[in-house]
Each structure stands twice: as C-alpha cells, then as structure tokens.
C-alpha cells in the first residue's frame, strides 16, 4: 500500500486525538458531570449540531456499502438513497423545540430520561434501556468490523491490528472527552465526509469523460442502469417509497439521533442546523451513491461491492487526494461508533444504575463509573469484533429498524398526544420490537415494502388503542405529568 494514501489518514487520527484532550478540559471544570459527559451541557451551536447529526447518522453504509450497491443496481439506488434527505430537516423540526424545552424542564440527559418522566413507569424505562443496550451494542459491533476492514484494506495490516488501531483511536477520545469530544470530532469528521464526497464525485466524472459519456456507457451495458427500477428491474416504486419510513422519517426513533435534539444551546442554533444539515445530507447522499454508479464504466467487473469505493478513489485520484477521500468513510464509521458507545454507556450508568441500583451515588462514583463503563463496553466490543459476524449490513439494519419500531411512537406521541400513557408506550415498544423480529425472520419485505413498515404501523396502532383503553387507570398520573411537562 502506498504511503501517500496513509499519511492523510494518520494526520486525521492525530487531529481527532487533540480534540479529545481539548474536550476533556471541560470535564474537569464542570459543575454537573453527567450533563457534560453525556450531553455536552447542552451547549451545541448550529454548525456542530448539524454536523454531529449528519455524521452520527451517516455510517459505513453511506460510504462503503451504499455506493457498492449503487454500483450493481444503477441510478435506481441513488433515487432510493435520496429518501434520506428528510433526515436533514425532519428530525429537528418534528422533535424540535418541544423536545428541547421538555428535556430542560426535567433536566433529561438521555432519551430514556424523557420517557421516564413522560410515562412514569418502571417498565417503560427498563424495556427502553434494554432495547438500547442490546440493539446499539450489535450495531456498534458491526460498525467496528467495518472500520477495521477499511483500515485493513487501506494499510495492508492484519485484521486484528487494524481493529486495534481503530479501537484505540475511538476509545481514547470518547472516554476522556465525553459528548463534547464526540460532537466536535463529529464536526471534523462531517467536514471530511463532505469534502471527500465532492472530491471523489468530481474525480470520477472527469475520469469517466463527463456525465453524458458515463451515462451512455452505462445504458450501453444495461439500459436499466439508468432507469429508476434498477439493473434487474426489481426496485418497485412501492419498495423504494417504503425507504421513506426506514431512512427518512423513522430516524426520529433512533436514540443516538434523538438525543442530539436535546443538546443544542438555543433556537437560533437549531434553525441554522436545519439549513446546514439539509445541505450536507443532500450533498453526501447524492454524491456518494452517484459515485458508486459512475464508477462502473471506469472500473467494470468489481465483484465485492464494499471494495468499489476504495478502488475508485485510488484509480481516479492522485494518492494523497485518495487518502483524504478514504478518510471520509473512516470518519463516517468513527462518528457513528463514538455516539453509540457513549449512548450505551449512558443507558447503563444513567438509566439503569442511577435509576434502580444506586440513586444516591455521589459525584465521584458517578464520574468513575461513567468513564469505567464506557471503557469496559469499548473493550467488550473490541473482543466481539475480533471474530467478526459475517453479515455486517444485516446486523446493522436489524438494529436500526428494531429501534425505530420501538421508539418512534413513544417519543413522537409522547410529545404531541396528551392521551398517550405508559401502557400505550409499553405496548408500542413490545409490539414494535417483537413484530420487527418476527417479520424479519418469517415474512421479510411483506407486501413488497421494506420490513420496517408494518412493525411501525402496528406499534402505532398498539400505542393508540392501549392508551385509549387504559385512560381511566392512568388518569391521576397523567394529570401530574401534564403539570410537570406542559404547564408554563
């Protein structure tokens, strides 16, 4: 492997380290360790908020898996990917100020804190923390495998050595810097992702002899590469549209995304983040997937989709520039992993330990425990990733859809429907997760839609029906909830 490709990658890692040290200074002086470590004391401005949202959401699949599929399927897959544009503006406008205001009223640090105050039910807290820990842990493992494989393919190191480099880089800045380090590194990583996308797209278009030329080459190989139906005409309009649920609006239910909607400093910051986030998501999703399609005439016959990105970058760009571009998927993976790590840690420390094990724990204990738990989870994922599970994207999507089906309604209806209660939320979480697992195993892509659609619909029905049936039982608690969350 070429040294010139590796140098930008290492410079990138060094910058990330320094940010971790910078952020750790805030942890030493903060008055409220938990708020700082898991939420950055709600100080995010617009630019950082937008970048950490986009970077957390954009993962290995946007930069490695996705373009690989686009290479095999054609422009139809780019059409499908553009359903993700909604994530740029939908999450922040829908959770919006209401979520931020309510979170402040109750000093919530995690999504589960919000659910706990909104529903006042032990079982809602336990069920939701358990789904976060289980699903996000597996999502994290899958991302680590992706990160390590990427380093492996770029440097020629062994898988274990690559995994070690990846693990050490991520663990150090997350453990010492907490949320602030994650958000600032996410911003650097988001900028790298944005620039990398622009460079590789332009480089690919030039190498292919212009857009018109590339498109006619594609059409000559198979006309359906440039139709919205995909190379084998298997992308039906209904199937493609159902991705609006999975990667468009359903993203509201992802805890790692939702928690960011309570981390910003002011409504001005949120307004700016809406604009910046939409632009950045649009450019990254369009650019990366289009590059995957355009790579085909330049490098025909690639069998393994995941290798399309690294190979096209090295083919069309000078080595040092390819290094910068290949830092982008690295950045995407790291920025997802760091948030997941912190979130799983907060679920254990804040949602389980401080709620049920030892509520009276003092600051010192909480501090040591938070840092300790983050480190232990990191090591645990490292050990699991040494023997990597085969189906990286399968695991990842499973976690993704499962969490969406579990949380979307308890969060959204909890904010906007006063009649929603604890029984409804519980029914919704259980229905969402179980029906997702069942559909996934026995009836995948039922009725030609992505598997996530029916569980999301079912969990909405469960939420509404059960809430309505149990109105009387919860009347007293609900009155107290209104008092605390809704009153001026």
């Amino acid at each position: 492997m070429n040294g010139e490709v590796i140098i930008p990658l290492f410079l990138f890692l060094i910058v990330i380290f320094f940010i971790g040290f910078y952020a750790s200074k805030f942890l030493k002086t903060t008055a409220d360790f938990l708020q700082e470590y898991f939420l950055g004391s709600r100080q995010l401005g617009g630019f950082i908020l937008a970048m950490t949202m986009v970077a957390t959401y954009g993962s290995a699949s946007s930069f490695v898996g996705g373009p690989g599929v686009a290479y095999t399927v054609g422009l139809g897959w780019v059409l499908l990917s553009m359903t993700q544009l909604a994530t740029g503006y939908f999450v922040l406008s829908v959770l919006g100020k209401k979520f931020a205001i309510m979170a402040r009223k109750i000093r919530a640090v995690t999504l589960v804190d919000f659910l706990k105050e909104r529903y006042r039910s032990k079982w809602v807290v336990i069920l939701s923390s358990a789904s976060i820990i289980i699903f996000l842990f597996s999502a994290m493992a899958a991302q680590w495998v992706g990160g390590a494989r990427l380093i492996q393919s770029l440097t020629g190191l062994s898988y274990t050595a690559a995994l070690f480099i990846f693990a050490v880089s991520v663990l150090i800045y997350v453990i010492i810097g907490g949320f602030r380090a994650v958000a600032i590194t996410d911003t650097v990583q988001g900028v790298v992702m944005f620039l990398g996308t622009m460079i590789i797209l332009i480089g690919t278009i030039i190498a292919g002899g212009g857009v018109g030329n590339i498109i006619s080459d594609l059409a000559a190989e198979n006309p359906d590469f440039i139709s919205p139906y995909g190379a084998d005409r298997s992308l039906t309009p209904l199937y493609v549209s159902s991705f609006w649920i999975l990667v468009g609006v359903g993203v509201v239910g992802l805890p790692q995304v939702a928690v960011r909607a309570m981390s910003y400093k002011s409504s001005r910051g949120m307004h700016r983040a809406l604009i910046i986030g939409t632009a950045v998501v649009g450019v990254i999703m369009l650019g990366m997937h289009l590059t995957g399609v355009f790579a085909r005439p330049i490098l025909p016959g690639i069998e393994v989709g995941d290798t399309v990105m690294p190979r096209i970058a090295m083919e069309v760009l000078p080595a040092w520039l390819a290094g910068i571009v290949l830092a982008a998927p690295m950045a995407a993976i790291m920025s997802t992993v760091d948030s997941l790590l912190l979130l799983v840690s907060s679920a254990i420390v804040k949602d389980v330990y401080l709620n049920y094990v030892k509520p009276e724990a003092n600051d010192r204990t909480v501090k040591q425990l938070s840092i300790g738990v983050t480190a232990v989870i990191g090591l645990l994922v490292f050990v699991m990733a040494i023997q990597p599970p085969e189906l990286l994207i399968w695991l990842n999507l499973f976690a993704f859809g499962g969490l969406e089906a579990a949380f979307i309604w308890p969060v959204i209806m909890g904010l906007y429907w006063k009649k929603g209660n604890a029984s409804g939320a519980m029914a919704s979480i259980v229905t969402g997760v179980i029906s997702y697992i069942l559909f996934h195993s026995f009836m995948p892509e039922a009725f030609g839609m992505h598997t996530v659609v029916l569980p999301v619909v079912l969990s909405l029905c469960a939420y509404i029906l059960v809430s309505l049936v149990t109105v009387k039982r919860h009347a007293e608690i609900q009155a107290r909830v209104f008092q605390k969350l809704w009153s001026a």
């Binding site: 922040l92 919006g96 205001i101 498109i215 604009i275 939409t278 649009g282 009153s487």
Partner: protein, 95 residues
C-alpha cells in the same frame, strides 16, 4: 374541558407544534415531488428518455432539482416561519 387544560399550557408549545407540522409538510412535499418526477418521467422505455446535462431527465429532476428545491424551502421556512424562543425555563435562567 380541553380549553380549560390549554389555559395553563406553556405558550412556547404552540410555536413548537406549528413547526412540527411544517416539518411534516416539508416531508410530504419532498415525497410527492421526488415520486412524481422519478416515476412520472422515468417509467417509459429507456430509449425514449430525455436528458438534461447528460443525466436522464427523471433523475435530474427527482434527485437533483428536488433536493435543491427542498433546501430552498427549508431555508424559507426557517427564515419566515420558525420563531426564536428561549429554551430555558425562567427560574433556571434566574439562577
């Protein structure tokens, strides 16, 4: 009964609710434009496609033009429809 309950409600929520509806509206517009251009222009045989800047017209409109249009709509919504409100509670600010 509803009116009575709403009287004591945090006035900022009215603004928040309106902005959530704007967010949903944007997604609906986004979806209709995206779907309309993609399958309106792209469902015919490939030989009869029209091209804009070298790209098939369906793709140019549904994926590039719509993305730009939605971005402009988001900017307009934020500038003209979204309101700035303080997020902290008064007692917290006083502290």
């Amino acid at each position: 009964m509803n009116r009575k309950k709403n009287r004591g409600e945090d006035p900022r929520y009215k603004i928040a609710n309106r902005e959530a509806i704007i967010g949903v509206g944007l997604v609906v517009i986004n979806f209709i434009l995206w779907y309309g251009f993609a399958y309106g222009l792209g469902s015919g045989p490939v030989e009869e496609y029209e091209y804009v800047f070298g790209l098939p017209a369906w793709f140019f409109y549904s994926c590039i033009v719509v993305t730009v249009v939605i971005f402009i709509l988001v900017v307009l919504a934020v500038v003209f429809l979204f309101k700035e409100v303080p997020l902290e509670d008064e007692e917290e600010e006083a502290r």
